[in-house]
Amino acid sequence: MNNPIVEKYFRMDNLPHIWCPGCGNGIIMLALAKAIDSLGLDKDKVCVVSGIGCSSRAPGYLDFNTLHTTHGRALAFATGVKLANPELEVIVISGDGDASAIGGNHLIHAARRNIGITTIVFNNNIYGMTGGQYSPTTPNGDLGTTAPHGNIDRPFDIAQLAAAAGATYAARSTVYHANQMEKMIETAIAHKGFSMVEVISTCPTYYGRKNKKGSAANMIAFLKDSFIDVKVAEKLPEEKKAGKFLMGEFKKEEGVVEYTVAYESIIERLKK
């Protein structure tokens, strides 16, 4: 007896997954499967690519064409997959470290090119797999094994970073807001061009424990209380926005030429 969505889109032999109790990764993975189901995509026409990290283990559980590559390089491999097979829906799953530290350069250039890849960042504010080193999204002042006295860096806003670099769809949600997140992933996959969905997730084992954030449920309750939609925020007075974080759709631009389309047009031109 299984959830039919799980039976349809997951490699049942590989479940249950190895993630810790309360790790947000599973919530995002289920939302992704549901989004793909709503779009009615042919499983053989989907390719899920990841780098290295706890989050990057997701493609091992998903029953599509999948590629588990090297740390930070998922978008480089995905770019190759998409250029060779423009008809595929290419989806990249990446941790905050994978996407914005070691892989940050690939991220801004994939966004700049507006290549038709959907990137879902599982942002748990830490390097989970390697034991809790701070990442480019660890909040200022928070603790990590490499920031034992508090992180002095300022964090990246990954969704806005992608938008500024040229992504034509950029949105952020959280694992509390799983329904909204699923809709964003659906929109992002349907979008023609580079799309980014940053999902704020939970790592109760490292980020949570180091920073005394309580149980996984406490961490998710924090997301519920702290994130407000940009559209709602626009109408709120400043004092109501203090200490809050923004989620929602930040950018949706149509009509920008997608990279493989531009590439194809060169080939067509040279054939004449």
Partner: protein, 68 residues
């Protein structure tokens, strides 16, 4: 008849890691734990079949399924 009248909450105990997320966010507070710390349905009469437990269970261990 509502669209979800023929559905009920199913629990796959083997996969439950007892994280408590579903229990915390169930709007009707009908979920709890068994002796092993895994999720248990305490009051199915009052479950509104909203699916919030399913959408936030990281382990796919609780979901709405067809009644047998």
């Amino acid at each position: 008849m509502g669209a979800r009248d023929n559905q009920e909450i199913k629990i796959k105990k083997e996969w439950c890691k007892g994280c408590g997320i579903c229990v915390t966010f169930c709007p009707k507070q009908v979920l709890g734990y068994d002796d092993e710390g895994k999720v248990a349905m305490l009051d199915s009469e009052n479950c509104i079949k909203c699916g919030q437990c399913e959408m936030r269970c990281p382990d796919f261990a609780i979901f709405l399924g067809g009644k047998e």
